[in-house]
Symmetry: D2
Subunit: 339 residues, 4 copies
Amino acid sequence: MIYSFRNDYSSIAHKDILNRLVELSENQYVGYGEDEHTKNAVKLIQQKIGAKSDVFFLTGGTATNKIFIGAVLKRFEAVISADTGHINVHETGAIEANGNKVLTIKNVNGKITSEGIKDIVNKHPDYHMVKPRMVYISNTTEVGSVYTKKELVEIKKCCDELGLYLYIDGARLASALAASDLTLNDYATLCDAFYIGGTKNGAPFGEALVINNKELSKDFLYVIKNMGGMLAKGYVPAISFEVLFEGDLYLQIGKEENDAANYLTDELKKLGVKFYSDSTTNQVFIILKNEIIDELLRDFDFEIWTTLNDNEKVIRLVTSFTTKKFHINAFLEKIKRYF
Amino acid sequence: MIYSFRNDYSSIAHKDILNRLVELSENQYVGYGEDEHTKNAVKLIQQKIGAKSDVFFLTGGTATNKIFIGAVLKRFEAVISADTGHINVHETGAIEANGNKVLTIKNVNGKITSEGIKDIVNKHPDYHMVKPRMVYISNTTEVGSVYTKKELVEIKKCCDELGLYLYIDGARLASALAASDLTLNDYATLCDAFYIGGTKNGAPFGEALVINNKELSKDFLYVIKNMGGMLAKGYVPAISFEVLFEGDLYLQIGKEENDAANYLTDELKKLGVKFYSDSTTNQVFIILKNEIIDELLRDFDFEIWTTLNDNEKVIRLVTSFTTKKFHINAFLEKIKRYF
Amino acid sequence: MIYSFRNDYSSIAHKDILNRLVELSENQYVGYGEDEHTKNAVKLIQQKIGAKSDVFFLTGGTATNKIFIGAVLKRFEAVISADTGHINVHETGAIEANGNKVLTIKNVNGKITSEGIKDIVNKHPDYHMVKPRMVYISNTTEVGSVYTKKELVEIKKCCDELGLYLYIDGARLASALAASDLTLNDYATLCDAFYIGGTKNGAPFGEALVINNKELSKDFLYVIKNMGGMLAKGYVPAISFEVLFEGDLYLQIGKEENDAANYLTDELKKLGVKFYSDSTTNQVFIILKNEIIDELLRDFDFEIWTTLNDNEKVIRLVTSFTTKKFHINAFLEKIKRYF
Amino acid sequence: MIYSFRNDYSSIAHKDILNRLVELSENQYVGYGEDEHTKNAVKLIQQKIGAKSDVFFLTGGTATNKIFIGAVLKRFEAVISADTGHINVHETGAIEANGNKVLTIKNVNGKITSEGIKDIVNKHPDYHMVKPRMVYISNTTEVGSVYTKKELVEIKKCCDELGLYLYIDGARLASALAASDLTLNDYATLCDAFYIGGTKNGAPFGEALVINNKELSKDFLYVIKNMGGMLAKGYVPAISFEVLFEGDLYLQIGKEENDAANYLTDELKKLGVKFYSDSTTNQVFIILKNEIIDELLRDFDFEIWTTLNDNEKVIRLVTSFTTKKFHINAFLEKIKRYF
């Protein structure tokens, strides 16, 4: 195999993070996030987002979604999501296992709008139905699109009017930051909470949950431990985030993987390849004939996203912090033969 | 501070593990434990335990207990534990959050016996009460004691007679292996499942859940994901376990930390220090006057376990893979002044 | 108000049931369903369905659905339902509160087909998604339609092929029995479990859950108590079912309320009233202009089902064991003025 | 059998309640507790307790405890109970099924004190343990004792100081009211919520949950429906409570059953029968030789509470609204033969 475009969590970690872990390996720290690296990583994130939000380092994306949503919603309350939302499709019922219904809106290019949210709320007027209480969006979305600032402002306004919390899944936040006009500062003001994805952006594991609305972080360490999300060595993910946020590494990884993906997209468009979604970030979804996919799989790895018909499938190509231009070029060389 | 005896998860990881992670950092792997390192780590553990049990790498001890017990018990079933058991005291209700009651037996030096188990079962005869269905023991226990093979055989026999599953929390299994006549092979045959603790034995994080009773591992990947325990980079904890199990590193760490603790215990006994429990493993519980504790805390760190009375407290001293003889000697030098 | 067509649970109970309760009021019984009336009611139902299924008397429809589905599904398993299904819309997340996702199929006149079921299963192939494990249908459906025997046979076949349990919500089973070719005996053989609704068919409260697949009724009394569904005076709902099933009262009520509804439907059709769904049972859904609805509400009560547009709404008219022909005629008299 | 002293829920209902149900059987009501009988029953209870507390009519004791405690506690919070408490022993884990731990205090004659509560709170200082948040007591207790006003005032004061809610299980509140100096008005001011037991005091089923602390009743109809506790015919239990509370019937039943039990107790004491607990209410616990129990069971029914030793067992004799003096005398006649 020449290269895997399967996902952005294919390699252990960015070398700067591993080097830092090696460098600090002789030290002793207290557990459960009460150490100085955790404090510093929190401070660095607070500086970058420009707000004194509460920050918690958790192990993975599904765990973070499950813990935050589970901490906030009562048993009869529901979270609104795009039908393509990760919590709705790809978390094996982790939200429902908490006891909460996921109410879905038909997505448009992976996104939802305030109209969709209002419609759901209107359809749930009384105690015979669940009570919508939170909106969940992913940025970047599951199909690689991004929300603009205008869109997010409108969703936030709608949530405020309807008494809904707004939570943003930032599994690929670095890529979203590099692709839209939304800054980290906007995330601190335009939602109740969001998470900064580490796993898909160079960390060996770990996500930073940022809770802007402090009413929602009360007793949060109890929630984390109760839900199985507390690490004894809390300083390990914290150190990863220190490395990512003490300089520009976090944003730089997002930018570089977007650049690689955009280059790939541009070249594929020139070839006349059909696209499944409109993505400007590090996930590229294209439609290919089955026999071409088989040929490509001899040298590259990637995910078969869905089957369109008897002859065609959608594949997903993901760039990451390890993707180099020559990887893309090698892929383009190969695919050119069929177009 | 000269040294912290606070716990055995004070340092990032054993250098062999970190070096291996650095060495492999350029590689690409598939996610969710479907990679070759996971397969190899599973094989290495199966070889060491001498059985083809199912093995899953999870993030931490509470998560592992929560996921395994939650996977097995129905909503009206209960798990029996020592009153001092980690699941009963120190998991913030993670088991109850799954929906299951923890039924407790008064411990004797941290342990339970088949008599206690039988008594609990006798007291729960019908559908107005929960149905006892599993026995949970920790080895080493929360107070540093270990079960002998004879004791475990008897408990297993009792469980079989009463239709109870037996599950062993091996957060400190390396220390238990080095301190008792129970071998890894015994763990493969004398319980339905157990976990091999990584976090407290040199790994940056991660535990290996070993399910011997294959009826209990059905659809287990669904359970892990649903309960927020699945890592995208499943190969990271797997690599830690490869390093620990390809040679003797796992057992060696347990032996060395026990040796350090036993040396500490022997010397403290010579000084006439009072002990709170009878431990032969890497946790040493001693009773000290408050003013001595204050003095020791100037140079060392450790946990205040409990308050005995107005003048005395119990402290816990834990040795780990980073503990050297000179750390112990420094501590002994200091404490000698007060005896 | 002349009469309320709001629902079929508007009056305390059929007089035969109340008279029986009065008659037996001096007797003493053991609790929790271990009494002779419960045994007899179970026997009567078993005779009527022609099978030795397990029968449990529960308090209401949502409780019955919640308890049965919750007893059967594991935390990562899901139940498939029409989007209009009671468990999906009108149970305030009771199924999700158990931990289970409801996967929905777009209904056709309130019903689902085996194609829809297969499609859902195909879209849930691995452990990153919930595992479909049960199909839920209501008969009569939420819009008054009924499944034919041919349809149910096909759904059951599909469920068997795909390893899915089939569960039927019979809140209005009497009306369904009177309106389709499915007999009580068919319910005993064509699904894993169903419930015989009492609340909506003359009982003061109570439903009879019938579990044909005995693997699913193991430890069921534990489940009922654990989920808050066990009554101390279990003999009270049992006596209601004795009265309903010792003769033909149960079926007779269904037939009479269908006759009343069908008469209403026929007359409304003659008037040219528009219908919202195609119902042959005791729920009639019609589309009316807002001002007509306001006029009707002066003399009758009924539920506003949904708003179609600025000028029209859907109303639901339900007949019950208390509905007499003169109630229908009075309603027809009034509505005629507007057509 | 001459008479059953097995429990106070052996007969369908007090004749006044059944007569009322018959009398109202032709009427039509709206569902889900939005009818006039529910409103009136709420008003009657508010008048009797002298406070505008929120009142909800639920189906049974375990359901009421499960719903109220589940509505209030977060997933990491715990409820404190006597070890003999109904929620700890006899609800098949219904509270844990909600996700909450029950922390127990060793009872003294069925009761707990503020010292016990403080001790539990002191032992749960941080996020590694559950957070105690509510105290549960039963009045009358499970062994027939009652709290005095002085005791309840002290417990309430302790709860206020420690930030704990106080909830009282009044399954046998009528008996408690007749046996202690606590009035219904005291229950409205000395706890956050309590329930007025109907099932064990003449109703066919149903309990009235009274929530004094209105912060805890927010969205309560959602909770009830979500947890499977909502009845379509909510007016049925409401009518029972109207009958019980429009005059003095509720208290009168409690007084009469206590009088019967006290007469029984006095006569048994004269005979030299040994007592298992100190009860002044409608449950009498006595210790008898096995052979005497066997003889008594020929003519009477009662529960074998527990086995004391090879020769003796504890039996429970419960009086109810159906118990007449001649039932007691018949029992005394028989038991006299053995003393």
